[in-house]
């Protein structure tokens, strides 16, 4: 039996003016388990807290109820006071007789009656409280960043600068990501490579950063502060320690027909290749599907020409296992496939290209060496039409329901760059809305119109019609003119919707990080915790969380880094003791709880149990207290009542219900 103390606060007149506080205290003494009751002017004051401490010690109280303001206000205060007096802080319950009673009722008799009931409910609950201990778990002071684009690089740099070890895992042979494929960036029009390359170099030179390129995350286990990750380093067929990056192998490689990923398949590369000149690490990989040696067993030219003897055809995939305290996902995006939008003739004409392909066409290192030309015949275009919202804002399954956010700006950028470099080329943009929220963004767009004479037409394009003479006929709406336009063009550029990198689904599953219907990772709170996943210790950086441009990506990358640093800076993590707990004798092992847990905190173990003399191995749910946030979803999903929530147990809540309905 508990010995409970009840402390009724007057809160000056805030409570006492409407509730007969001494009556509440008096009634409390009639409740089972109550050994002490008193009322006082201000329970939260030092004097009030001293009264509580004194009663705990003098009367040997095992639990207390404070009838006062909302627990959201002073629960922490009273818990600390109890702890100082030697009582477990979780033996404290608050009856909210101010916000939920005295402040909303006028009639003293009625309010007093209600206050008594609220006190009774709290007493009934405390009777069933048990002392709880906040757990501790250790923190591995190392972070993993998945994805080596600008988001991953920035996050890694920020974490490393704070003094923590960071590993970057990048799937492709080089870090750099999408940004390395861009020619110029809005709204300042500086060269993408010029601002990105120094960051790439900084990351590779940073003593706290290890970069694993051509590598993928294979397996993740553990939890916040203590993840264990297997990383697969795919066989590069080139010894990274020996290679000097001289590039002779690529020159001499006789197999040059593989489509260049970096140039979006617009031209080809050799079988042994670095994706682009500034690649980091500057060590090539052999594409074994394209390599003659691997396909036929004959060739070996690269090995013969390599002075450093770095070519290693025997190299195998390697698995590295590493421990991390925090994981940042920065897996980025790709453009959607356009095979269901052939009204724009993308698959029918080489001169219909995506914006990302245009970036490569405009880039000096691209397939046309930076000359704006038609990919069909190499002729200089005179009329270019841009079509926005291709696949974005789409209600059916052909495209994506969201706004891809970056297209309006890069289209303005492309239009402006073309008009600047080739003033005799006419540029027309078909748009639905021009969305330019962002610093200097609308000014930028207006500059494209006013200074560069880009022709913006409000209306979508219905069909692109390739003509026998090689030109393209663009049939679109001019909604402001209420006209249907037929415009002849030499090139058509599609502002293609972006989508999260398709691999993210696999990664999210490994991390038990939740993902939305569009495959964007879900944030812990849409407004207040935008860079954290609901799964503790997992942070989100860049477009994997939602469409964003470079400045936003970098800002979010920094924010994710700060959150990761905040975690790594702790030696130990205190865990919330109000977590779920599974009774192993009642658990059926049915997985219902696991299916509703938003944190992946529930796993199953085959465990030997002793059920009243019957020894057997059973599949039992186990809650990881470091991951559990205490929502209670599992407790209701559990049919047998095996799963219960500490601090809000089934019996405690039922006791409250009973006390209120008594």
């Amino acid at each position: 039996m508990q010995r409970i103390g009840v402390f009724v606060c007057h809160c000056g007149s805030n409570i006492a003016a409407t509730v007969d506080v001494s009556k509440v205290a008096e009634m409390a003494l009639m409740e089972p388990g109550v050994a002490h009751a008193e009322d006082y002017q201000y329970m939260c004051s030092e004097a009030g807290q001293a009264k509580i401490a004194a009663a705990i010690q003098e009367k040997g109280l095992t639990g207390i109820v404070v009838c006062s303001c909302s627990p959201r206000m002073h629960e922490a205060t009273f818990r600390k006071a109890a702890e100082r007096a030697g009582l477990n802080p979780y033996m404290v319950e608050i009856a909210n007789i101010r916000e939920h009673c005295s402040w909303i009722h006028k009639d003293m008799e009625e309010a007093t009656k209600k206050a008594v009931i609220l006190m009774r409910a709290a007493v009934a609950k405390v009777n069933l409280n048990t002392p709880l201990q906040a757990g501790e778990s250790r923190v591995t002071k190392r972070a993993l960043v998945i994805g080596g684009g600008i988001a991953g690089i920035q996050t890694a740099l920020d974490i490393a600068d704070a003094g923590y070890e960071v590993d970057i895992v990048e799937k492709t042979p080089s870090i750099g990501g999408r940004m390395s494929q861009l020619d110029k960036t809005f709204p300042t029009l500086d060269c993408s490579a010029c601002i990105l390359t120094p960051k790439m170099v900084e990351a590779s030179a940073h003593e706290k950063i290890t970069i694993y390129t051509y590598s993928e995350v294979e397996k993740v286990s553990g939890f916040v502060g203590d993840f264990t990750v297997d990383i697969r380093r795919k066989a590069r067929s080139v010894d990274m320690n020996k290679c000097t990056g001289c590039g002779v192998c690529q020159e001499k490689c006789p197999s040059k027909k593989a489509p260049s990923e970096f140039n979006r398949g617009l031209n080809t590369r050799s079988a042994i290749y670095t994706p682009f000149a500034q690649a980091i690490p500057n060590v090539p990989v052999i594409d074994r599907e394209a390599c003659i040696k691997f396909r036929t067993g004959k060739c070996g030219v690269c090995s013969k020409v390599c002075q450093a003897g770095a070519i290693d055809y025997e190299q195998k995939d390697e698995i590295i296992t590493e421990k991390y305290g925090a994981i940042v996902v920065a897996t980025g995006f790709d453009t959607i496939k356009l095979d269901r939008y052939d009204e724009y003739a993308y698959s029918q004409s080489k001169d219909v290209i995506t914006s990302l392909e245009l970036e490569r066409v405009m880039n000096a290192a691209g397939p046309t060496h930076g000359h704006l030309e038609r990919l069909s015949d190499g002729k200089a275009p005179k009329e270019i039409v841009f079509i926005q919202c291709v696949g974005s804002r789409c209600a059916d399954d052909r495209g994506k329901p969201y706004c891809s956010k970056i297209c309006c700006m890069y289209t303005a950028k492309h239009a402006m760059l073309i008009r600047d470099k080739y003033p005799d080329v006419n540029v027309t943009v078909f748009y639905i809305d021009v969305r330019t929220p962002g610093k200097n963004f609308d000014e930028f767009y207006r500059r494209a119109v006013e200074q560069y004479g880009v022709n913006y037409i409000k209306g979508q394009v219905g069909k692109v019609i390739p003509k026998p003479d090689g030109k393209l006929l663009v049939q679109g709406s001019d909604l402001l003119d209420n006209r249907q336009i037929l415009k002849e063009a030499d090139m058509v550029v599609l502002a293609t919707a972006i989508e999260p990198n398709p691999d993210v689904r696999k990664i999210a599953t490994m991390l038990t990080a939740s993902i939305d219907t569009n495959n964007f990772l879900t944030e812990a709170h849409a407004k207040l915790r935008p860079v954290e996943s609901p799964t503790a210790g997992i942070f989100l950086s860049g477009v994997c969380q939602g469409p964003k441009d470079i400045p936003e990506t970098v800002a979010q990358a920094g924010a994710a880094a700060v959150k990761a640093i905040g975690l790594l800076a702790k030696d130990k993590l205190m865990t919330n003791p109000c977590t779920a707990h599974s009774d192993e004798l009642l658990c059926n092992g049915c997985s219902s709880c696991e299916n509703v847990c938003p944190y992946g905190a529930i796993t199953y173990e085959d465990k030997e149990v002793n059920d009243h003399g019957i020894r057997e191995t059973r599949r039992i749910a186990v809650v990881n207290n470091a991951l559990c946030q205490g929502c209670g979803a599992c407790t209701v999903a559990c049919p047998s009542g095996a799963m219960d929530l500490q601090g809000f147990s089934n019996r405690q809540i039922i006791a409250e219900v009973d006390a209120i309905c008594r």
Partner: protein, 269 residues
């Protein structure tokens, strides 16, 4: 291979050729087309109104008859295909239409979209296979540059008809290739010929068909082929460029070497 066959009204009158060549070709390919009994006209256009029931019943009757026989229902005319396929989709997926149509029909067992509706081209692609068809061609139409004219009804709405990519179809091109000719792709092959509008707005339809013809000729098409009697009629009314327009079944019969056998018969029709 035995199928229920729904010829449709026009194949009994102005488009007898489409029907006759189809039957001859089917026989040559070992496909048995069993004409369903007492079929009624599908109405030519799919009734879009969600409250239109009575106008869908003729299709439901045909569909149910195929169901009773346990056969797929084959169509030849684009319009019939469009209407019957969509009505079938309604019967399968739209409860309100299903319930109300069945109330009218008073069938032994309610019809709920069980029948599979196939266009003859789909039979050639998915059942016979174009590779197989190629082997059976005795008289390849080598050297002929043929443009497929799809029109609207076979392709759209793509999600419902599930016939081919509505914006970049290839079934008829593959067909043309299989019979030994050279398919020519031109962008207006899925643009409307004007359809029923040509009854009252002859100019409109003429303009549309001219655009189609011009585009086809520009890409080097020597002959157009279609599955729709109305498309054929409209295209033939085009006054500018004049390319010959033939039914795809006629090409098929020719390639299979059965055209001559029934040519006189067709001409006598």
């Amino acid at each position: 291979m035995k199928y229920s066959y729904y010829p449709g009204c026009t194949l009994r009158t102005k488009a007898k050729a489409l029907d006759a060549y189809a039957r001859a070709s089917a026989a040559a390919l070992g496909i048995e087309l069993v004409e369903i009994e007492d079929w009624q006209c599908c109405g030519g256009v799919y009734p879009l109104g969600s409250d239109e029931i009575a106008t869908k019943l003729s299709s439901v009757r045909a569909l149910n008859e195929a169901k009773v026989k346990g056969q797929s229902l084959v169509t030849m005319c684009s319009a019939c295909h469009h209407v019957i396929k969509r009505v079938n989709d309604d019967m399968k997926n739209v409860e309100d239409i299903r319930v109300r149509a069945n109330n009218y029909m008073e069938l032994d067992e309610p019809y709920a979209g069980e029948t599979e509706v196939l266009h003859f081209l789909e039979i050639l692609r998915d059942r016979v296979g174009f590779d197989e068809l190629k082997k059976k061609v005795t008289n390849p139409l080598t050297g002929k540059k043929i443009g497929a004219y799809y029109g609207c009804l076979l392709l759209r709405p793509g999600r419902l008809l599930n016939f081919d990519d509505p914006e970049n179809p290839k079934i008829m091109e593959d067909f043309i290739r299989a019979i030994g000719a050279e398919p020519v792709i031109y962008p207006y092959r899925n643009e409307c010929c004007g359809g029923y509008i040509s009854l009252k707005e002859k100019e409109m339809s003429k303009n549309m068909c001219e655009k189609i013809m011009e585009s086809a000729e520009g890409f080097g098409v020597e002959m157009l082929t279609t599955a729709c009697p109305l498309c054929l009629y409209n295209l033939n009314k085009s006054t500018g460029v004049k390319l010959p327009v033939v039914y795809f079944t006629e090409l098929l019969a020719e390639a299979l070497g059965v055209k001559e056998e029934i040519k006189e018969e067709v001409q006598a029709l």
